[in-house]
Symmetry: C2
Subunit: 143 residues, 2 copies
DNA sequence: CCTAATCTCTCTAGTCACTAGAGGTTCAAG
DNA sequence: CTTGAACCTCTAGTGACTAGAGAGATTAGG
C-alpha cells in the first residue's frame, strides 16, 4: 500500500530517479506494478531496500555483493554457508580498507598541520603516497 | 637514464601496462620519449610518479585530485592554499568512510558470530545498512 | 647474423555504476 | 479541463580502467 511514485520513492530513499530505474533494469530491484498509464507504483518496502543499497554502495560494496546479501535476507531459514562466505569476504575487505584509510588519515592530518604554516615542499602527502611501505597490504583493487 | 620499457616500468611501479598508456592519454603522465622503433622509454622518476598514483587511487583519491596534487609537487614554494583545500576535503571524506566502515565491520563480525550457530534471519547486516542513523554524514558520493 | 619468442604499438570495444538528454505521455492541482 | 510537473523509454556519455585484434619492435639464443 501507500502507493509511491518513483519521484516520491526517490525522495524517501535518497536514491535518484534514473538510478532506481537502472537498478530495476539490472534486476537489483524488482519491477513494481504500474498505474493505468504505465507509471511505476511502489510500496514502502522499497524505501528500506533502496536505503540498504545506498548505504552499502557508499561504503564500497559492489552491486553484486548487495544483490547477494538481499537474496539471503529474502529467504532466511537457509543454512548460513553462503551468507558466511559473503560476510567473511566483506569483513576482510572492510578491515583492509579501514587500515589503508587510517594510514592516509594520519598523513592528511600531518599535511594539514604542516601546511598551516608553510610551503608545499613541507607537505609529505606525495612522498607518503609513493612510499613503498604502503605496499604491504597490497591486495589492493588497483593492481 | 636507466631507460625502462613500459613493461619494466609496469613491474617496477605495480601499474598495469594498458593503465600506464591510459594515464598518458588523459594527460596524467607525461608522454615519454620513444625508441627508434617507436616504443616508450621511461626513466626512474616515472616509477615514483606511478606509485604515488597507484596508492592514491587505492585509497580513494580521484585522478583529478592526484593530478592537482602532482602539479603542486611539481612547483613547490607556492602557498599551500590549494593543497590545503584538497587535503581537508579528503580528510573529511576519509573520516566519514572510516566511520561507516567501522559500523559495518562490527555488524559483519556479529553476523559471522551468529551465523556460526544459526540461521540467516539472525543476520542484521541488512538492517544495519538500511538504518537511517547512518545518514548523518550524508554528503555521500552516492546521492 | 638470423630466427623465435616476447614485447610493444594503436585502436576499438567492453565493464561498472551511474548520469544526462531527447522526445513523448500521464497525472494531479486548480 | 487545462496546464505544468512528473513520468516514460531510449540512446549516449562519464570515469577509470580492461581486454582483444592485428601489426611491428626488440632481444636472447644458436
Amino acid at each position: 500500500m501507500s502507493d509511491l511514485s518513483i519521484g516520491k520513492l526517490s525522495r524517501a530513499s535518497g536514491v535518484k530517479v534514473p538510478t532506481i530505474r537502472y537498478y530495476e533494469n539490472i534486476g537489483l530491484l524488482a519491477a513494481p506494478p504500474r498505474s493505468e498509464g504505465g507509471q511505476r507504483r511502489y510500496d514502502k518496502t522499497n524505501v528500506e531496500r533502496l536505503r540498504f543499497i545506498r548505504h552499502g554502495r557508499a561504503l564500497g560494496f559492489g552491486l553484486d555483493d548487495l544483490r547477494a546479501l538481499q537474496e539471503l535476507s529474502d529467504r532466511p531459514n537457509q543454512s548460513c554457508q553462503r551468507a558466511d562466505a559473503i560476510a567473511s569476504r566483506q569483513l576482510a575487505e572492510v578491515e583492509r580498507r579501514i587500515a589503508g584509510l587510517e594510514a592516509v588519515r594520519v598523513e592528511l592530518a600531518r599535511m594539514l598541520d604542516h601546511c598551516a604554516h608553510g610551503e608545499v615542499d613541507q607537505c609529505r602527502v606525495i612522498e607518503t603516497l609513493s612510499d613503498h611501505a604502503l605496499c604491504e597490504g597490497d591486495h589492493l583493487k588497483i593492481s
